[in-house]
Symmetry: C3
C-alpha cells in the first residue's frame, strides 16, 4: 500500500488506552473530520489498539458510527495482537473493520512511507 | 506555511485530553524547554485541542505562562473546532494565542512538511 | 546518531504520563513486540519521560523486563530532565538504561532523521 512514486499524503490516527468508551467515539469523529478537512487526496486510517478493539465487535455503541467512516473512505483497523488478547477473531468484528497484525508495526511503516501520525 | 525549499526543522507539540488543568502547564513547559533545546533554527508550536482551549481564554491560570512562550517564539494554537464546542471565539483567547481551523488537519500538514510530532 | 546516508528505519516509542506502574510494563512489551515485528533492519528505542523514570531505577518491578529489551537490541532511554525532577542521577538507573538530555528534543531529532514515532 502507498507505494506510488508520488509522496504519500496519508494520516494514521492512533487510538489506544483505558476507558475506550470515553475516547473511541471521539477518535472516530476526529478521523472523520480529518478526512473531510484534508480532502480526497489524503488517505486517513484509524488504528485501534488495546481493549478498545472489543468495541469494534459490537453492532451498537461506537461501532454504530462505523458506517459514516467507511462511507468517507476512512480505514478502520484493529490491532491483531489486541484482538487475540481480548479473545476475539477478525470474524467477530463489525463489517467494514480491517485488521493489521500489530498496531505499532503498521504505524511505523505508514510513517516511513510519508504518512503523518496523530495520537488521540 | 513552511513552504521553503530547505527542509523544515519544526516540532508540533500536541496537547489534548481530559483534565487539562493537570497537563496544560506541563505541556507549555515542555514546548518552552524544547524550543530552548532545539535552538533558533527550529520552529516549535503547541497545538491545543479539546476542552483545554478554555484555559487559553483565562488571563490567569495556565495562560499566565503564555508570555514566556511568545517571547521564546513558540506558537500557541487553539483548535477552532474545539473552541466552537466550548462556546468560545478567537476573540476570547488570551493575546498571543492563534487559531487553526482543525487541530488534526494542522498536525498532519505540518508533518507532511517535515515537522516532528510529540504528543503530551 | 543515525547519520548514515541510507534512509533510517527507526522507531521511537514515547512513554510518559501519570500512573507509570500501569503503562510502563505495557510500553516495554510494545517496544519489544515492535522490534520483533519490524525486524533487524529497524532500530527501536523506548524513550521514558516524567515520573516513570523512577521505575527504571528499581531492580525489581518493570525494570525486571529490561534484560529482554536489551537482548533484543531495543534502546531504553530516560529523559535527563525527568531524572533531575525525580532527584535521580544516571548512575541510579538499572544497568542497560541510557539517558538523553531531554526527551522531546531527542524525539524531534529522531523524526527529522526519518524515524517513526508512536506514543504509548
Amino acid at each position: 500500500m502507498s507505494e506510488s512514486t508520488a509522496p504519500a499524503a496519508g494520516l494514521v490516527v492512533h487510538g489506544t488506552g483505558p476507558n475506550p468508551e470515553a475516547w473511541l467515539p471521539a477518535a472516530m469523529r476526529t478521523a472523520l473530520n480529518a478526512a473531510a478537512d484534508l480532502g480526497e487526496g489524503a488517505q486517513v486510517e484509524l488504528v485501534v489498539q488495546g481493549p478498545a478493539v472489543a468495541l469494534l465487535a459490537e453492532a451498537s455503541g461506537p461501532a454504530g458510527q462505523l458506517g459514516d467512516l467507511v462511507a468517507a473512505g476512512v480505514g478502520v483497523l484493529a490491532c491483531g495482537n489486541s484482538l487475540r488478547s481480548a479473545g476475539l477473531a477478525a470474524g467477530d468484528l463489525t463489517s467494514g473493520v480491517g485488521v493489521v497484525p500489530a498496531a505499532v508495526g503498521h504505524l511505523a511503516r505508514r510513517q516511513w512511507s510519508g504518512w503523518a501520525y496523530v495520537r488521540i
